[in-house]
């Protein structure tokens, strides 16, 4: 068995440790490029959402590299993500490829198929200690990749030379691929923290702060969303991303595990959105409210074009924006999105935030003392 899986930012690093430890040979798809997107767009139905197209491109490229088994997750719910796996299986079968499609659905939709799929994904035999060891290490690696990306977003506007920051983080990510034990992971963490701390800072303290909310794939996958976070960072903005694969997994496996962040976001969203609308609709609303409370200057909402849950969230976010006086930029991404238009919009959004801050300061100086002093 030569298994493959879809890309999602640095998920391949964690899975590249998990599967080989379980004794499964893997063929990771090549990095997402324009070619991946073109393959997916050509083969998928035109009105399918963008993540389906990109992940389909991943599968085809991996099959061409020699993969014969595909691991995919599924689900049932108001979001189309639930039938990604089924649809991709049909498309790949129609193309005449001889591959095995292993679909891991949520256990609440049938415990038998779930256990069968899990057994296949776990290498055929369930040896509990081995699985626990492999899961612990790859989970730690996945967490660390997200921490590194969080540092990149936060520090891009604060270091003297962002290229050095990229270099340190990219090198650490590369080194993570060959981590074999938790001790090695800890050592790598320590070294990365030291290297990042030693980067010369530019001493800025007055940077704008922007939060990213949206759909789990588009909001995270920088190779697809035109790297909005880097664009913001280069404009001198501190960026925080509320979307994370770690939290997504923790929340999906509830009640076994729990995601504090998601529970908080859902609670905050309650006054605006009471019911589950599929995907990350509620999370987007709740996270935007959290950013408003934490005093962020603005929010960027990233989602695939025609994504139903996020369109619901977009409508609700307009009320959030008004109530909290929080500017929100909505960006729908698909294969037709033009980079020039997106860059102009993001630049203009940062200008809006800057002018607002400037105006507020001017008015405070004009009207006298701070009202809360």
């Amino acid at each position: 068995m030569r298994a493959t899986f879809p890309h999602l930012l640095h998920l391949d690093i964690a899975l590249g440790i998990l599967y080989p430890t379980l004794g499964i040979e893997i063929v990771p798809p090549p990095p997402i490029t324009q070619k991946t997107i073109e393959i997916g767009v050509k083969l998928a139905p035109q009105n399918a959402c963008f993540p389906l197209k990109v992940t389909l491109g991943n599968f085809i490229e991996a099959i061409e590299k020699g993969a014969d088994t595909i691991f995919m997750v599924g689900g049932v719910g108001p979001c189309r993500f639930g039938y990604y796996g089924q649809m991709q299986r049909l498309i790949i079968e129609d193309l005449g490829y001889k591959v095995r499609f292993v679909l891991l659905d949520h256990p609440r939709y049938g415990i038998r198929p779930f256990l069968d799929a899990l057994r296949t994904m776990a290498g055929g035999r369930i040896s509990l200690p081995r699985i626990i060891k492999a899961v612990r290490l790859s989970w730690g690696v996945l967490r660390f990749t997200e921490e590194l990306e969080a540092q990149r977003r936060a520090l891009r506007c604060q270091v003297e030379n962002p290229q050095n920051l990229d270099q340190v983080i990219d090198q650490t990510l590369e080194a993570l691929r060959s981590v074999a034990s938790l001790e090695e992971l800890e050592a790598l963490k320590k070294r990365a923290a030291e290297e990042i701390a030693s980067l010369p800072r530019n001493g800025r303290k007055d940077f704008l702060r922007v939060g990213i909310v949206g759909e789990v794939y588009i909001a995270q996958e920088t190779r697809v969303n035109f790297n909005v976070e880097r664009l913001l960072g280069d404009l001198g903005v501190y960026v925080h991303n509320s979307v994370s694969t770690v939290e997504y997994i923790l929340h999906t496996l509830r009640p076994i595990t729990r995601s504090k962040e998601k529970i908080e976001a859902w609670k905050l969203a309650k006054p605006y959105l009471k019911r589950f609308v599929g995907g990350e609709g509620i999370d987007s609303v709740g996270s935007a409210i959290r950013y408003a409370r934490e005093g962020f200057d603005g929010v960027v909402h990233l989602y695939p074009f025609t994504c139903m849950p996020e369109i619901v969230a977009k409508g609700v976010l307009q009320a959030v924006s008004r109530d909290f006086d929080l500017p929100i930029l909505h960006l729908a991404i698909d294969e037709h999105s033009g980079e020039a238009g997106l860059v102009t919009r993001v630049e203009a959004f940062v200008d809006v935030l800057e002018r607002r801050r400037w105006e507020r300061k001017r008015r405070l100086e004009h009207d006298g003392a701070f009202p809360w002093r």
Binding site: P30, P31, T33, Q34, K35, T36, Q318, P327, H336, G338, A340, G341, V343, T344, R345, E347, A348, D351, V352, R355, R356, E359
Partner: protein
């Protein structure tokens, strides 16, 4: 006298504004880009040089528009800003209590919401041509009406024809259909203006509240038929202002931003730029399947700027080597130097 230069290189037209310290426009020009922004920039600079007042010194330069980065390198800009900010700044300067800005240019249209002199929200349409000046120009050609006469013709209509304006392709077939039913040109032109207004409001305004005074600017604001169509749309209840400088508002905004930015020493390259030899060349990087198109801007043999690479691996030296390699391997396409007018498919 301290002067500031604003340059707006758009898809269809290139605009220059020369402004003094009181934000008054000293000279301005409005040119066709005609697909060659470098030539348009040089032509504009020549015009500004001729109209420089005596004793005037350029102390700051701002560029905007879709070719703002290119213009910034060639002219030597102190500040490079996006069109939305530039247009908003100019509108606020002209009409301090402005609450909404409509800007319709050649390739895109913008709606900017302003409250208390600060931009609060904006929307921009870059995907669909049905809400832009190009749409009107294209239809004017079909109707055989010069674009300058288009607006006046619309005002002559006693009634209008409803034309589906959601998409340029359908608008065209609908327009031909209405023509064949026997409607007059003026009625059809008026119908087109109304279709464009509906499209603008549907696409950009969505759920945003449009409050007056509204400043209508951009090349299309010169079209009286469009102004009237907007007035009719709001039932005459909203105050719509078309500033005299409507065509060069973006460039004016860029000049104001350059003044606010107040550089100690300007990066302006001087008017001698027009004598210099700029060429832009491009190649497709084949190192990964991303196939980035790398554009290299050269002055004589020196690389002045390069962009288009996603990973950022290209340096002036490697890009130059690559271009030379390409010249060696790919035989340059030879075009016939002369063609007979009337017989040539391209020029006839």
């Amino acid at each position: 006298m301290e002067l500031f230069l604003g340059v707006d290189v758009g898809s269809v037209t290139t605009k220059f504004v020369l402004m003094d310290k009181t934000k008054r426009i000293v000279a301005s020009c409005y040119l066709r880009t005609s697909g060659d922004p470098i030539a348009a920039l040089k032509e504009g600079l020549r015009y500004i040089e001729r109209h420089m007042p005596e004793g005037g010194v350029i102390c700051g330069v701002g560029t905007t528009g879709s070719a703002r980065h290119l213009a910034g390198v060639i002219v030597g800009a102190d500040i490079v800003k996006n069109e939305i900010t530039a247009h908003a700044v100019a509108a606020i300067t002209k009409v301090p209590d402005v609450r909404t800005v409509f800007e319709i240019g050649g390739q895109d249209s913008k709606l900017i919401i302003i409250r208390n002199g600060v931009v609060e929200d904006f929307a921009m349409n870059t995907v669909c041509a049905a809400g832009t000046g190009s749409f009107l120009e294209h239809q004017a050609v079909r109707l055989n009406v010069p674009i300058e006469e288009f607006g006046k013709l619309a005002l002559q209509a006693r009634q209008s024809v409803r034309i589906a304006g959601r998409c340029t392709v359908f608008a065209e077939s609908d327009m031909i259909h209405k023509q064949q039913l026997g409607f007059g040109k003026a009625e059809i032109v008026k119908g087109l203006c109304e279709a464009l207004v509906r499209n603008f409001i549907n696409n950009l305004a969505a759920s945003r509240e449009i409050e007056d005074p509204i400043v209508f600017q951009g090349g299309v604001a010169a079209n009286q038929g469009m102004v009237q169509a907007f007035r009719d749309f709001f039932g005459g209840k909203k105050r719509i202002i078309v500033p005299e400088e409507h065509g060069v508002m973006g460039a004016w905004g860029a000049a104001i931003l350059a003044m606010e930015y107040a550089p100690e020493k300007t990066a302006f390259q001087g008017f001698s730029v027009v004598e210099r030899n700029f060429t832009s060349r491009s190649f497709t990087c084949t190192d990964c399947p991303n196939a980035c198109e790398i554009v290299v801007l050269k002055e004589d043999n020196q690389v002045r700027a390069l962009w288009g690479s996603r990973c950022g691996k290209w340096t002036p030296e490697t890009a130059t080597n690559r271009l030379e390699e390409e010249e060696d391997t790919v035989p340059s396409l030879v075009f016939p130097t002369e063609c007979v007018p009337g017989r040539c498919a391209m020029h006839g």
